[in-house]
């Protein structure tokens, strides 16, 4: 089995920016709409290369989303990017009616996702949009784990037909995939084999899961690590197989523990192979200012919580559990 190693660090938003340029070169009907923060979400790369196919809409995310729908209904492939707080939630109704119900070929790039945004604080750290977008009919929802995967996901969503959303972050995150690593919408990828416990993650938490697996291996526990960038459509087969093979699951995401990747895994396994699941994520709270690393520690988004959760999930599998716990109760690393 291929092994993955650390190749450096880079923000996923750069993968989005490069993916857009690649799409622009391949398809003359790719249009990009700017929402004033083009340098931050890297739509500026497309703007510089294809100024005739870039339109600045200003700070008006509802309008940008619906204008994108109008462009899509005219045969164009419009991308609109902003911070996820504003291009997934402020425009939620526009996404629901004008984009999803219309099955309009609109692509949204949502930056500043998760707590790792850092100093900007809670208003800009979107932690809820995966849950929302996952419930929209016709919507594709992608959360790439690193730079290379973000680039591939951007290109893939541009070349499929239908509404799609990609979530990316501001701060540098570990790179471990290469141009040769497989990526397919609807597919999860097993990064590390194991049958003792399954660690299923997306975004920046994928590499944290790999670190947790290394630590678990030191105790003789072989964890299967699964990168699940395609939240919708979801890879039911890979997740079901993991539940059946391992009998215990930890999900990890830079998102509320409610309704995101963990929700998707729970829905899948409840139906196909019910097993104990521990949910690592933000525990029903808003974020705050600080350096990304500090915040990831504070909000329990490191390999340590994944490691501790794996032990609890295995324990529940082996001994059963009669206690009643809330989803947001995440085991602490001792």
């Amino acid at each position: 089995m291929k092994t993955y190693e650390l190749l450096g660090e880079k923000p996923t938003r750069f993968g989005f920016g490069e993916g857009l340029v690649a799409l622009g070169e391949r398809h003359s009907n790719v249009i990009v709409l700017g929402g004033d923060i083009t340098g931050s979400v890297l739509t500026s790369m497309f703007k510089d290369k294809f100024p005739d196919r870039f339109f600045s809409i200003g700070i008006a995310e509802q309008n940008a989303t619906t204008i994108a729908a109008g462009l899509a209904l005219s045969g164009k492939i419009p991308f609109f990017a902003s911070y996820g707080a504003f291009c997934a939630l402020r425009n939620a109704d526009q996404l629901r009616i004008s984009v999803a119900y219309n099955e309009a070929n609109v692509k949204i790039g949502g930056g500043h996702a998760g707590i790792s945004v850092g100093p900007d604080g809670a208003t800009h750290q979107v932690l809820e949009e995966v849950a929302f977008l996952r419930t929209l009919p016709n919507m594709t929802m992608l959360v790439p784990a690193d730079f290379e995967e973000a680039k591939k996901a951007t290109i893939a969503m541009g070349e499929m037909h239908g509404p799609a959303y990609i979530r990316f972050g501001r701060s540098p995150v570990p790179m471990f995939t290469t141009p040769d690593t497989p990526f397919e919408i609807g597919r999860a990828l097993v990064l590390r084999e194991g049958t003792d416990v399954a660690l299923i993650a997306c975004g920046a938490m994928v590499w944290e899961s790999m670190k947790a697996a290394d630590e678990l291996a030191k105790k003789g526990i072989q964890a299967r690590v699964i990168n699940s960038p395609s939240i919708k459509p979801f890879d039911f087969a890979t997740v079901t197989a993991a539940a059946r093979d391992c009998g215990a699951i930890v999900t990890a995401e830079e998102h509320q523990v409610h309704g995101g990747l963990g929700g998707a895994v729970a829905e899948c396994t409840a139906k196909n192979a019910p097993v104990p699941i521990e949910f690592v994520g933000v525990k029903d709270s808003f974020g705050g200012s600080g350096e990304p690393e500090e915040l990831m520690e504070k909000f329990g988004l490191t390999w340590k919580e994944i490691y501790a959760s794996a032990l609890v999930a295995m324990d529940r599998r082996d001994k059963g559990s009669s206690s009643v716990r809330a989803i947001k109760d995440v085991p602490q690393y001792q």
């Binding site: 509802q62 204008i67 462009l71 209904l73 005219s74 119900y101």
Partner: protein
Amino acid sequence: MDVATKQSLDFNTTTFGNERKDPQDLIPIANEIRRDIIRSLVRAGSGHSGGPLGSADIFAALYFGGVMRYNPQDMHWDGRDRFVLSAGHMAPVLYAALANAGCFPKEELGTLRKYNTRLQGHPGRDMHLPGIETSSGSLGQGISIAVGMAMSDKLVDGSDRRVFTLTGDGELQEGSVWEAAMAASHFGLDNFCWIIDNNDCQIDGRLPDVMNVYPIVDKCVAFGFDTIEVDGHDPADLMRGFDHFLGNQARGTGKPTAIVAKTYMGHGVSFMNDKFEWHGKPPSKDQAAEALNELAMMP
């Protein structure tokens, strides 16, 4: 109910052409649209009466006065002008206009709001009814979609296709309407025509009582629109408004056009006329008969 009334509840097969005509010749078309609105609403047993009846003259001018270019046999024709009903709840008037243009059999108007119908309570693009360009019904969105379409036509494709949209006046309370207006003007969309159905009514009451949006004309002007006020029940005045827009586009003024059409909710049916209570309900059978009798006396 006499025989004549019973017959008038059924849909006929008459259709109308879209050639330029004497404005007076649009009056019988508007009234046929009104009759079809009543016929479809009474069958549906729910739906909006006031706005559709009040805007029938606008739709008669738009679809039958040679303003919009379309082919009823092929509503996907690439060269067509497009219409977006931003006020999606006014669907009955759009459906009636499209049926009277021959886009689909008028009989289908009898399926309004029924299970599996192409005539959804609010327009649904997923039902593929010829002439429905987009889903709409969540207010304040259709106008933005129309701006995106006009951008695609003028700025990306360099075509002379036109995009028309109709919003209600209560809809102007949605802030996103003004985001769209700002963009239409910013991008110099002289191929974009915004019709405001100004009947001064919304579900809860008169506009100034619910939330004042006046002065509407001043707002449109301030947002960069070439704005013209017309009598929304006078076909000649409506054609003057549309001709003004067509002239703006032909001259390449670089300004979008707003037509503020003064109308009365429920116009054409006396017991509904200018009554906001008729915003969101259908006529009963008896009321429908009364309405059709009144409309039958009109041209």
